[in-house]
């Protein structure tokens, strides 16, 4: 009850009205929410999938799922948190559907003509090993290690406990180390 009161006080009357109208199927209210949250949703997705083109499509997919599920939305809850949770699921589904090797060539371009052969080799092997990680480890490792997002934020967005986030990061690092050793790179 106290939590609900707290949530209520976070939003203005106008915002709650917009959320209610959205839940009732009002397209104008949905447009308002879309424009308020599209940048945040896109930013989260692109951090996970690391592909700007795909992130735009996935942002649309996220809001499409939100639009379809509008009747289940509780206007007393945070729209942003709900949207981010759905965005995380959409991004992870996308990662599952893309072969790990698919992004290698594009990523490799980044390293060309900048490094010595050895550094380039290490980069490529690291990236290859990273792409081969199971998706649920890769998503968490990207957010925690590369983007340095707080564990709390990751846990809320993915709908898992902070302990599970820590465990996935730990296991991702352990797997990465193993794969790198197998390819002759000593991290």
């Amino acid at each position: 009850m106290a939590a609900q009161t707290e949530v209520r006080t976070q939003f203005s009357t106008a915002e709650i009205e917009t959320l209610k109208q959205f839940a009732a199927g009002d397209l104008t209210a949905f447009e308002t929410l879309f424009r308020q949250h599209q940048a945040q949703v896109y930013g989260w997705i692109v951090r996970v999938v690391r592909d700007t083109g795909a992130a735009e499509d996935l942002t649309i997919e996220t809001f499409w799922r939100i639009y379809r599920a509008r009747k289940r939305f509780d206007p007393k809850r945070s729209f942003g948190a709900w949207a981010r949770r759905i965005a995380s699921n959409v991004a992870i589904d996308h990662l599952k559907s893309v072969r790990p090797e698919a992004c290698l060539s594009a990523e490799a371009v980044h390293a060309v003509e900048v490094d010595s052969d050895l550094q380039q080799h290490i980069r490529r092997q690291t990236e290859r090993a990273f792409r081969q990680l199971p998706v649920k480890f890769r998503a968490v490792a990207t957010l925690a290690l590369v983007e340095e997002r707080p564990y709390e934020e990751i846990s809320k967005s993915l709908g898992i406990s902070v302990g599970a986030v820590k465990s996935r990061v730990f296991r991702a690092v352990r797997l990465l180390r193993k794969k790198l050793k197998q390819s002759g790179v000593e991290p």
Partner: protein
Amino acid sequence: MKETNDARFKSLLKQALRPISPELQRDLWPQMLRRIDERSPAKTVPWFDWALLAIVVISNLVFPHSILLLLYQL
């Protein structure tokens, strides 16, 4: 030791993965509207209504007296 390890992997991953700008470059609302238009159930007349209309028209042509019956029902 663990923190050093994490820092080492952070550094390795940041070097290996292409930097990404999290800023959205354009408004996606027009695309969203297209998606809603494409995927929303079309507002068409169900086939059953068309069949019913066809039956009424044909029966009126074959049995002109049925027009009176139809008018009475309306």
